[in-house]
């Protein structure tokens, strides 16, 4: 019988709630999360089914002062697993909690985390979009009579559209998250 498995799941950088829920469900079904080395590739190993809460934090300052950051979580009974793309992964079995527990206990700090993700992940994307993609889309416009010009403009137009779809998704997710808090 297989004792490990790898699953592909894609979550955007704003879908950490869904990602937490996914990892919890896997553990409930007897698959303990080991690690993720490539975006979207989750490694699991077989275990006794158990209700374990998974939580993601995004805190660049914490990662910069890793020892004390992880110690705080350890002291509160949270096992640290790994960092990935700025996110730190923690888990705690329900049997060690009284009631439900999360790594944040008020909406102010939940919103603070969202703001950190925006500052470090989304704003750079907006800058790339405005300073690189948009100017490149139009830079070859006068060469549209040449094949290279068409290809070049085409590539950046597709990228531009991709970014716009991404921003739209972020906006919706941000709005939903804010609404779920208050």
């Amino acid at each position: 019988m297989k004792t490990t498995k790898t699953e592909f799941r894609f979550f955007t950088i704003l879908e950490w709630t869904q990602e937490q829920e996914y990892l919890r469900k896997q553990h409930n079904n007897g698959w303990r999360f080991i690690n993720m080395k490539f975006p979207g590739l989750y490694h699991f190993e077989k275990c006794e089914p158990e209700d374990v809460t998974y939580q993601l934090d995004y805190n660049p300052e914490g990662i910069a002062h890793k020892a004390e950051y992880i110690q705080m979580f350890l002291d509160c009974g949270w096992e640290y697993m790994q960092d990935y793309a700025g996110y730190s992964y923690f888990r705690k079995p329900a049997s060690k909690m009284d009631g439900t527990e999360e790594i944040f206990c008020d909406d102010d700090s939940r919103l603070d985390m969202m703001k950190r993700v925006f500052k470090h992940r989304i704003i750079p994307l907006i800058l790339i979009f405005c300073c690189v993609i948009i100017p490149q889309m139009f830079s070859q416009y006068h060469h549209l009579n040449r094949l290279s010009g068409i290809i070049f403009t085409g590539i950046f137009t597709v990228m531009g559209i991709f970014y716009l779809i991404l921003f739209r998704t972020f906006a919706i997710q941000f709005w939903r998250y804010r609404k779920s808090l208050k």
Binding site: N59, G62, E68, M72, D98, E102, F104, D106, D112, M113
Partner: protein, 104 residues
């Protein structure tokens, strides 16, 4: 006390209030979590993500200062500014309590 401090900390979150209240003694983050659980009879359990974020924010804003490190745990203490903010918050809560009693 500048406008930024007033805007962020007056009134403050329950977490922020308990942190300042505890840091009148030198303590680390987990020490605060334990103390708050004890003095509220287990009613309030502060979470590590919230604690870490609040402590670093308060240190940056000058409400608390770093004292020393012990076994990978940073110990903090309230500053003069932190005391002023805590005093304002205590007065606000007292007024709230008095008003509630009068109206009841």
């Amino acid at each position: 006390m500048n406008a930024h401090i007033k805007k962020v900390y007056v009134p403050m979150t329950e977490t922020g209030f308990y942190i300042l209240l505890c840091l009148r003694d030198t303590m680390h983050g987990y020490g605060i979590v334990q103390k708050v659980e004890a003095i509220t009879q287990g009613e309030i359990k502060l979470s590590p993500g919230t604690m870490y974020g609040s402590l670093s924010k308060m240190e940056k804003d000058g409400l608390i200062h770093f004292v020393r490190e012990e076994d990978k745990r940073k110990l903090y203490r309230i500053t003069e500014l932190g005391n002023q903010v805590l005093e304002l918050e205590i007065m606000r809560i007292e007024r709230l309590y008095r008003t509630m009693k009068e109206v009841q």
